[in-house]
Symmetry: C2
Subunit: 255 residues, 2 copies
Amino acid sequence: MTIETGHAAQSYDAVPRKGRPARRAPQPAGSGELRKALLFADIDDGTLSRLSADARIESLQDGDTLFRQGAGVTDLSFVVSGYVKLTRIAPSGRQALIGIRSIGEMIGEAPTGGDEIHLVSAESVGATRVLKLPAPRFVRLLKESPALCAAVIRNSKESIARLVGEIETLKSQNADQRLAQFILSLCPPGEDRCRFRLPYDKRLIAARLGVKQETLSRAFAKLRAHGVRTETRNVQVESVAHLADQCDRLGPSQH
Amino acid sequence: MTIETGHAAQSYDAVPRKGRPARRAPQPAGSGELRKALLFADIDDGTLSRLSADARIESLQDGDTLFRQGAGVTDLSFVVSGYVKLTRIAPSGRQALIGIRSIGEMIGEAPTGGDEIHLVSAESVGATRVLKLPAPRFVRLLKESPALCAAVIRNSKESIARLVGEIETLKSQNADQRLAQFILSLCPPGEDRCRFRLPYDKRLIAARLGVKQETLSRAFAKLRAHGVRTETRNVQVESVAHLADQCDRLGPSQH
DNA sequence: CGCCGACTTGAGCAATCTCAATCATGGTGG
DNA sequence: CCACCATGATTGAGATTGCTCAAGTCGGCG
């Protein structure tokens, strides 16, 4: 599955959109902002304030490129608000969505000191603010702080768990099941009947699930029979438990 | 794609194979053995010998289970010889291959101290030997050795890179392209015309590429037209460069 | 020799993609 | 306030890809 944005896939950012104002100048960030990054949840104040010395907040508009696959890693970034999508371009030119990061999450991998390059490209989805820490300072503190080290390892393990889940999903579930699972993951816990808003547009959801937009639309249609109503971006689930039950039965027709 | 071993998918190890001798008793391992684990390539001798204190080597036969998804992590393991496949069972009961580890590679994730459970199940492929380090000792040393910490982080980043590549492949290439890429990855570097042996059977290769065995067989047949000859497990590639070229053209028919 | 497992091949089917037309919907300018 | 346009979403029809089921081949091993 590849992502097709409105413009040609290979050059989605070669031509600036008309009337787009320039990216806003970066703002300095205090250690209070850093604390909101999940990676730093357990880091002591001292280390954190040292980290924040030249941290800054940048505001991005929809479609702005944060960094490109293959470029050198200069910063460690986190989402402050909005979403950032991570994509990868295959040699064939096809673009595959690797993940979407939201508030508090790290964007890309933590630098560790070697000369490192980005594994993926990062692009904002809608108006987005990101926190950027220059890599060299982070690397220096990483070497001094076992707690920071432990946090990075924990974070990596979470990334791995997420990617493993993604592969499992891609290999063992069809489009309908993937959508059902995605919807279930959005349902607020505790309630059986619920109503919420999709976090981003269906084109992006389709890319996330690894299907074409049309296929996603048909999958939504099929889920209507199982108590999932949608009107544009609003979703209503009749019964979370029932949907979870049906999930397996959406699989390939057993003979 | 799911894995179908010779036995039923859900219970591939519930019934011991007839005539199988008991798993051989574990052998103690010296720090020389540890050095062969890629994770420890840059670790100092002192730390390594402390790590090796209660390390042991275990011999497994084809299909032996090393650990199961969801079970507690008691050891950190490495492949000494042979292969270990990592799989995951979806709620639906379908089993998806997550990865295959070979000599020197770590099996599963490094424990970090919390109460952790295995993300995947691990099962030997053919006769295999593994090195096992008890988790508690590893965790203790991890806290004391920044070098070990750095090694774990580096290792995690490699895992992530591998998983990201896997997702890209699954989302943006068809079966023929995935096979071509897989074959290219096996070709010894430097030679344009080459000949080698497949590392494991085609059933496992199919699972690794996320297709059925039959589909893999047809993909091999299609590659014959591009200079890939196979006779059972032996492969001969006419021209690596040519195959790499054709890789993109194996994609969906462009109109 | 005959069986068994791994592999191949064929035919039909199901899931998904592609292409194309249509239908909202929200924003913009007149 | 409304016509109009751009974008996203839906729907339909047909092509493709990969899966399922089934049969057949091949090679090794008891």
